[in-house]
């Protein structure tokens, strides 16, 4: 990944082809950021403008507006070009408000915690 000349830029691994495009950035902690790439370097450090975080819980999703973000390259897993014609998620998914997604997130976390604690209590049964 480097600053390639104009003739081979479309064949290089440089992020230059993604400049000023709407991108989906997947981070190592599983977060999904949507925004416009304004700058980058050889470490995949990136500047995203108009960034939103997309939260998905089951069939619900919500975009939380964040603003201008500088992402440290080591946290980047994948940078995907978002196809503007089919930007949307599968049709069965519903867009909800920030408050609703937070509630859904909490419910999911509590369900997971409960499952964990149930398993812990059943451990003496030594199931495998």
């Amino acid at each position: 990944m480097s600053w390639a000349g104009p003739e081979d830029i479309f064949l290089s691994t440089s992020l230059a082809t993604y400049l000023d495009k709407k991108l989906l950035v997947l981070l190592r902690d599983g977060r999904k950021l949507l925004g416009t790439l304004r700058s980058f370097d050889q470490f995949a450090n990136a500047v995203l403008e108009g960034t939103c975080e997309r939260l998905i819980v089951g069939d619900l999703y919500s975009d939380i507006p964040l603003g201008l973000y500088v992402i440290r390259g080591e946290n980047v897993v994948l940078i995907g070009e978002v196809d503007l014609e089919k930007e949307d998620l599968p049709p069965h998914m519903t867009r909800v408000s920030t408050a609703e997604i937070r509630t859904a997130q909490k419910a999911e976390r509590e369900a997971a915690d409960l499952k964990g604690s149930m398993r812990k209590r059943m451990e003496f049964l030594d199931m495998d």
Binding site: M1, L11, V82, D83, K86, L89, M93
Partner: protein, 93 residues
């Protein structure tokens, strides 16, 4: 440098890149660099239902440091050639 050279040889072929977070992506290898960062085209996530947010992504850049495996086309490796190149590189080029 050997694997970099090797990946350059298979540009244009279809591969499956499995990441350290278990996400597996099938796509056409568009380019690769010295860090083994990879660019894929016409990507499809192997387990679509689990990763709905990837539906709208057709081209992507994958940071080399997060790659676990690259599954190659079955006829994509010339073992003899790779063997020779390995020895040549081990001798110091």
């Amino acid at each position: 440098m050997l694997f970099f050279s090797y990946f350059k040889e298979i540009v244009g072929r279809e591969v499956v890149v499995e990441l350290k977070n278990d996400l597996a992506i099938r796509g056409t290898l568009r380019s690769v660099d010295q860090y083994l960062n990879i660019k894929l085209e016409n990507t499809r996530v192997v387990d679509q239902d689990k990763y709905p947010h990837m539906m709208s992504v057709r081209n992507c850049f994958i940071r080399g440091s997060v790659v676990r495996y690259v599954q190659l086309p079955p006829d994509g490796v010339d073992i003899e050639l790779l063997h020779d190149a390995t020895r040549r590189e081990a001798r110091g080029g």
